[in-house]
Amino acid sequence: MWSVAGGRERVAMSENRGILALIVINKAGGLIYNRTFGDGLNQLNTNDYLVLAGTFHGVHAITTRLSPLKQQQAASITADGIPSRPDPPSGLEVLESENFRLQCFNTLTGTKFLLFTDNLQANVDVAMRKVYDLYADYVTKNPFYQLEMPIRCDTFDRKLNSYIREINNAR
């Protein structure tokens, strides 16, 4: 009995790989989108997701202030003569644990995309960029979507699912 249960568990583990989940947090720290990709993944209840989003938002804000290095304040002049402001501190970008890896992408407007993958997933940056592209296309160009509100767009769901399935099957 023991070995059977263990074996089944291992099968489930090996089926779920690649990109596991996506969470989108708005600039006020509210959860606006969460989705898991694949069967048999652990699910949090809605309240926990909301708490998670708020907590992560706070932790991210703290990590932007943690850098022990002094920030270069002087505006640098680029080759074409346009002064450029130094990038703001990025804060938390990657969080790794034994079982999963969390990649965070903070857009210029403060929307955060959290992508949960397994430890071996390569090119998470590319996937993140594509997810951001899909968001820009199918969410912000949708006249029925209000900014900072929960994302309920069928086309976004559809395109996201097919893209993630494509990546996960390619491995």
């Binding site: 160009k141 006249p143 309920r152 976004f156």
Partner: protein, 238 residues
């Protein structure tokens, strides 16, 4: 374009915007001089998104948003009054484009074929091929006549993925709305302009299930006015 070159002033050779020496007037060229004469899809998407928002404001029902008039009889189609009252509606926004597009596209045809469509079939083919090609860069995916024998005045133009709807997801509580009503307005303008008064509506027929090939499939239902059908039947006999 020999027919365009003949100057009107007796004997005096004119050259300018209206009658240039090579015979190509400004109407023959797209305003956009880029190589493929294409516009930015993203800009259009944002613009159209705002048009839909504007059309959705202060509207009581979805039916209002899509249709200019609930009155099926064409006798009440007082063109300007109704349109001004209901100017915040998508169909209306498309209608003048259709009217002008008809003129422009016919003008750009070679002189020999520069005739207005005279039958329903040629008109619908003109819409399916010329209008679609000009607006969306491809022809429409289908053209069908209603299979219901009691509705001989209904024709369907099918587009599997309307360009205007590419980035739009209509919320469930407004599922009757199809924002391609704007395109329906353009079709209606072309029909009205060529003296085939018709009422055109856009309907979503795509299935929302997972793995569906064309979830945004849209049918433009063209319902011609009774007098058009009457004239058509006379033409058929002659």
């Amino acid at each position: 374009m020999s027919n365009l070159q003949a100057p009107r002033g007796g004997g005096k050779e004119e050259s300018g915007l209206r009658y240039p020496t090579n015979g190509k007037t400004i109407y023959h060229r797209p305003l956009n001089r880029a190589k493929a004469a294409e516009l930015s899809g993203a800009s259009f998407a944002y613009l159209f998104s705002e048009m839909v928002s504007y059309a959705s404001k202060k509207i009581e029902s979805i039916q209002d948003l899509e249709k200019r008039s609930m009155d099926p009889s064409f006798t009440h189609k007082t063109p300007y009054l109704t349109r001004f009252i209901a100017s915040a509606r998508l169909n209306v926004q498309g209608h003048p484009i259709g009217l002008k597009l008809l003129d422009l596209l016919l003008y750009r045809e070679p002189a020999r074929t520069q005739t207005r469509p005279l039958t329903i079939i040629t008109l619908l083919h003109f819409i399916k091929i010329n209008v679609w090609q000009h607006l969306f860069g491809q022809v429409a995916d289908g053209l069908e006549k209603s299979s219901d024998p009691s509705k001989p005045d209904e024709y369907m133009i099918i587009d599997n993925e309307p360009l205007v709807n590419r980035y739009i997801s209509v919320p469930r509580d407004m599922s009757q709305l199809n924002c391609a009503a704007y395109v329906a307005g353009i079709i209606e303008g072309v029909c009205d302009g060529s003296a085939f008064p018709a009422r055109v509506t856009a309907h979503s027929v795509g299935k929302q299930e997972e793995g569906e090939m064309w979830p945004g499939r849209t049918v433009f239902l063209v319902k011609f006015a009774p007098e058009v059908m009457e004239r058509e039947s006379f033409l058929g006999k002659g």
